[in-house]
């Protein structure tokens, strides 16, 4: 255990080594560490952003889906309405046609019965005259009683 000049040599070596470390060891390692910290921070930020983007996209997609569903429902209800309208129209048309046919038939039947009545009336007059002729035989002048018969005809 002696003190000697080794002490100062060691001091100088110490300072030289420390200087070397400061110059060539410390800065590159700290730079790498800082850069990596930066990269990690960037990566985390990117991940956060991607997560936010994903949430945004999902929201947008669900919005679109909801909108599509709504418009489809609207479309379908419109179509249903239209179909119902068409059915309603067709039904009304049918009723109208039936009614018109019935009316026409009724009218035709009315005319026919009138015509039958008229011809019956003609025949009644002729039959009455013929009957009267047979009953009265020559006593009756057709011409003299024509007025009377016409009056009778109109009363039928």
């Amino acid at each position: 255990m002696n003190l000697n000049a080794t002490l100062f040599a060691q001091l100088v070596v110490f300072l030289i080594l420390a200087w070397f470390t400061m110059k060539f060891v410390w800065p590159p390692i700290m730079k790498a560490l800082d850069e990596r910290a930066g990269k990690i921070a960037d990566g985390l930020a990117a991940a956060d952003k991607a997560k936010a983007d994903l949430a945004h996209a999902e929201k947008k997609a669900s919005d679109e889906l909801r909108k599509a569903r709504e418009s489809a429902a609207e479309f379908r209800s419109g179509a249903e309405r239209q179909v119902a309208q068409l059915i309603e129209d067709a039904r009304a048309e049918g009723v109208r046609i039936v009614n018109a046919a019935r009316e026409a038939a009724e009218a035709e039947a009315g005319v026919a019965s009138q015509r039958a009545k008229e011809s019956l009336r003609e025949h009644v007059a002729v039959l009455a005259v013929a009957g009267a002729e047979r009953i009265l035989r020559k006593e009756i002048n057709a011409k003299a009683h024509a007025e009377l018969l016409t009056q009778l005809k109109s009363e039928l």
Partner: protein
């Protein structure tokens, strides 16, 4: 200590505790500034170079991408030092943090020399000495630089210089001198000499204890390895000797495992105290 007889316990330890110095024999005076410990210088410079070159290699290959295991290990170390220095030193740390890293890795490497087999390198050195035609009994080599007070005090002196440098840099030369005379007791002419004396005691105590702590731990650790080695060496022939050999193996194992903790802890303590002392230089009273 002639080559023909095996050294006794005392000779063995003295031999192992003698430095290879520029004199070629043991330094006589306690303090002699003309002498160098060649073994301490060789091992500390070599290990320092190994340490910084390993770190520089990691630094040169450092990428900000996915790190390999080696890079990750160095990064863990650097981040540990960075977080410690950040919490202790408030100011510009462009030099201080690298100093702390250097101190930690370098001292760890120097301390780790203690874990090499005690006689391995001295015996090899003895062989080299013998080949060169010298008496191998005079081939001294101590391989743990931190078990040399010169090395540890040299480093703590370096820390002291840094403390003074940063004191002046932060407070200005006037501010620092003012602080030397007014802290810790206050600004009063009567207190100036007391303050100054306290400051000087503080500086000396800090520096000496800083260096002595590491030296003491490593020196004591080395000494215990030597005692354990002596225990193992006593095996020759007798039954109690064989038991001692077993004891030596067991004790050596236990002490080496415990020493892994000590070398790391002492390197860490030296680094932390370096940061604390330099951090104190940054604080104005």
């Amino acid at each position: 200590m002639a080559a023909e007889h095996a050294p006794n316990a005392s000779e063995y330890i003295v031999h192992h505790l003698t430095h290879l110095n520029s004199l070629g024999h043991k330094q006589a005076a306690l303090v002699d500034w003309s002498v160098f410990h060649l073994d301490t210088l060789f091992w500390s410079v070599s290990l320092g170079l190994v340490a910084v070159l390993i770190l520089a290699r990691a630094a040169a290959k450092a990428t900000s991408g996915v790190p390999g295991r080696f890079q990750a290990a160095v990064e863990i170390l650097v981040e540990m030092v960075e977080s410690q220095s950040k919490s202790i030193v408030h100011g510009d740390r462009t030099f201080i943090a690298p100093v702390a890293l250097t101190v930690f890795v370098w001292i760890f490497f120097m301390n780790a020399m203690d874990l090499l087999p005690l006689d391995l390198l001295p015996r090899l050195w003895g062989g080299v000495y013998a080949v060169a035609g010298h008496d191998p009994a005079h081939a001294y080599l101590r391989m743990v630089p931190t078990a040399d007070l010169n090395a540890t005090l040299g480093m703590s002196l370096g820390v002291l210089l840094l403390c003074i440098y940063y004191s002046i840099k932060i407070k200005g030369i006037g501010g620092w001198i003012h602080e030397l005379f007014t802290a810790p007791f206050g600004s009063h002419p009567v207190l100036y000499p007391i303050n100054f004396a306290m400051q000087m005691i503080e500086f000396v105590a800090k520096t000496v204890s800083h260096g002595m702590r590491l030296f003491g731990n490593m020196y004591a650790g080395e000494l215990i390895f030597m005692l354990i080695a002596l225990m193992g060496a006593a095996w020759a022939g007798t039954a109690s000797g064989a038991l001692l050999w077993v004891g030596g193996v067991v004790a050596g194992t236990i002490w080496a495992i415990f020493h892994i903790l000590i070398i790391t802890l002492q390197a860490f303590i030296f680094m932390m105290l370096t940061l604390v002392y330099i951090g104190q230089a940054h604080e104005t009273h």
